[in-house]
């Protein structure tokens, strides 16, 4: 089905070149699944290094996110894990569809109209690592500030 395998980054850097073409992009679904009244879903697909190596799961800082808007029938998204956020890595999917650049029917928006969606890797929750040292330092600072303020109040 996929005529032109590409990346989100390539689409963003040469959006006009792919206008109206079928492309396949792999990336993590992010943010929200916005279910509209017409039975379609809008969401974001990130094709950055964090999609495969999340920052809080051993990944490294690799610059800003690289995301494109994706749109498709709600049925395509049924059964998917929740989108990626702070405490969750979203599903990594391979989506095939038509790249719409400055779509005149949607007020000049640019997005990928999905026709096929395949799950490459399921989403999963991320665990937090709470630093006891940070908690201790924070508590001591608050206590010290409270001590100074109480002393000022007593003196006055």
């Amino acid at each position: 089905m996929a005529q032109t395998p590409t990346s989100a980054s390539t689409l963003l850097n040469s959006p006009e070149e792919f206008n109206g073409k079928q492309v396949t992009v792999v990336g993590e679904l992010i943010g929200d699944y916005g279910l509209r009244d017409d039975g379609t879903i809008w969401t974001q697909l990130n094709g950055d290094p964090y999609a495969t190596a999340p920052l809080r799961d051993g990944g490294r800082l690799s610059g800003g996110n690289i995301g494109i808007g994706v749109h498709g029938a709600a049925a395509l998204f049924s059964g998917l894990d929740g989108p990626g956020r702070y405490n969750r890595v979203g599903p990594v999917v391979s989506v095939t569809g038509t790249w719409r650049y400055h779509d005149p029917d949607r007020g000049g928006e640019t997005y990928l109209e999905i026709e096929v969606l395949e799950v490459v890797r399921r989403g999963y929750p991320l665990k937090e690592a709470v630093s006891m040292g940070t908690l201790l330092v924070g508590s001591l600072l608050v206590l010290a500030a409270a001590g100074v303020l109480v002393t000022i109040r007593r003196r006055s």
């Binding site: 995301g67 000049g108 630093s131 002393t151």
Partner: protein, 496 residues
């Protein structure tokens, strides 16, 4: 020769800075509480450190109370300049602890961008950032846009506090007392906030199909960034994330509300017309002009296949640029391709900025209007017969006289802005950024806009990060407080 400050001067300054830090500590409790409620425990501990440090510094400063607390102009200006440096320094602590920033400088840059309502960012992987951290970045917009000083003035009274108000780049006096004016500014923000957050929540819930809690979160953060002309967004793709014309309409209305001075808010509340004001006429003219330029440029480049698409995208981008918000519905890689007239329209819109005493940055419409009026007056002087009397009056909340002193003040600040724009552009060029991009990014930083053509990134040279941070700071405070701080530091070392 400057006089060396006395110990009491330093105590007076630190005492007033400290009071603002206590307010910042209170503001930090909001993301801390949010983090606990949202189960984001690691960020919660980071916020605890920040709140603790704000509170401790504030408490120590208050404990070192001066013999008298009367602020003169120089004290007030120094306090304001210091506040706008210390808050981003401490406010960047949870950012660097979050792991979303490559260095402390990057986190400081973001905090400075937040508080100056700029919106340029060096944050990495925003899409996986803790919601409490996103909230804190937007609260910085709100604190900066409404004014930390304004918050303090609404609560504290004290001799000479008016200097703090003016030091923050405000010159509207809605009520005779600065305290009452400050309270009105917060009232306007609260009323707009309730209306804005409610409307955005409803649109996000009913039109975008988000869950109710997520709708509220998006609405609250977007409101703070739009009304305070900030530009941070909860997702990396800014407003392009939402793919919704109704959502953009509400945001556009909030940006318009943000670009209006609080004097105009007051007049509208009292159902007084502001259409006769020089400032209103100027901003309508410059917005119309820059929008037209941008649309002609985009049409000539055949960027959009439909008039509706061209109109919608150009309107949103130009409004965002002119209001100094910095939201976008297109990626920065696409904005970078806008050349010719479209580039000119956007750049001029950013440079001119919003209304005086609003949350917007840039030269400001009143100064632009007065500059045009001054030039017109000079031309008339030359063309009319010798001895002809030329009226130098203008309407701005009533008839005013364009005095030589006013002309001089307007020219000086306007020239300083132009100088700041060129300074950042020059540093950009020295860092091997192409001329057009260097100019765009410099104006965006100095006019506290936040739109980017891709220059601002974690990988840009440290000198450029420092330059843009300085531009955001100096541009937001409209220079005088910054010069006062430099003078104060100079006199500490070299004063007699």
């Amino acid at each position: 020769m400057l006089l060396r400050p006395t110990v009491n001067d330093i105590r007076l300054i630190s005492y007033n800075v400290a009071r603002m830090l206590l307010i910042s500590a209170a503001a930090g409790l909001v993301p801390l509480a949010w983090a606990v409620l949202a189960g984001e425990l690691a960020p919660a501990t980071d916020f605890l450190v920040m709140v603790g440090l704000f509170a401790l510094l504030g408490a120590l400063g208050v404990a070192w109370k001066p013999a008298h607390d009367r602020l003169d102009w120089s004290h007030g200006m120094v306090v304001v300049a210091l506040i706008w440096l210390v808050v981003p320094v401490v406010g960047s602590l949870p950012m660097i602890l979050s792991g979303n920033f490559g260095s402390w400088l990057d986190a400081f840059f973001d905090a400075m961008s937040g508080i100056t309502t700029t919106g340029l960012t060096l944050a990495q992987d925003i899409d996986h950032m803790a919601t409490s951290m996103i909230l804190w970045r937007h609260i910085l917009h709100f604190l900066g846009g409404q004014g930390i000083i304004i918050a303090a003035l609404s609560m504290f009274s004290g001799a000479g506090t008016a200097t703090l108000y003016f030091g923050e780049g405000r010159d509207d006096r809605i009520y005779p007392s600065v305290r009452s004016t400050s309270r009105f500014i917060w009232l306007a923000a609260i009323v707009n906030g309730i209306a804005g957050i409610l409307t955005l929540t409803l649109v996000a819930y009913l039109d975008l199909g988000f869950s109710f809690l997520r709708s509220f979160f998006h609405a609250a953060t977007i409101f703070m960034a739009a009304f305070d002309t900030g530009g941070f967004a909860p997702q990396s793709t800014s407003i392009g994330y939402y793919h919704s014309a109704p959502f953009e309409v509400v945001i556009a209305m909030l940006m318009i509300a943000g670009v209006m001075s609080f004097g105009v808010h007051f007049a509208l509340w009292r159902r007084r017309s502001v259409m006769g004001n020089l400032e209103t006429k100027t901003i309508l003219f410059t917005f119309g002009g820059t929008l037209l330029l941008t649309m002609i440029g985009l049409a000539a480049a055949r960027a959009y296949g439909s008039a509706a698409g061209l109109g919608r995208q150009a309107f949103f981008q130009v409004l965002s640029a002119h209001s100094g918000t910095g939201f976008s519905t297109i990626p920065s890689s696409e904005l970078a391709t806008w050349g010719g007239l479209a580039f000119g329209g956007m750049t001029i819109a950013m440079a001119l900025g919003g209304m005086a005493s609003s949350t917007a940055g840039g030269v400001k419409s009143l100064r632009v209007g007065l500059t045009i009026k001054s030039i017109a007056s000079q031309v008339k002087q030359v063309l009319l017969p010798e001895g002809a009397v030329i009226s130098d009056r203008f309407i701005q909340n009533g008839p005013r006289h364009l005095t030589d002193e006013l002309k001089q003040g307007v020219m000086v600040i306007s020239l300083l802005y132009v100088g700041l724009y060129l300074f950042g552009g020059g540093i950009g060029l020295a860092a091997h950024v192409p001329l057009q991009d260097a100019l765009f990014e410099s104006i965006s930083a100095a006019a506290n806009v936040g739109l980017s053509v891709g220059v601002t990134s974690p990988s840009m040279p440290a000198v450029l990060k420092l330059t843009y941070a300085f531009q955001m700071w100096a541009g937001r405070l409209e220079f005088i407080s910054v010069f006062a701080l430099f003078g104060f530091l100079w006199s500490l070392g070299r004063g007699k």
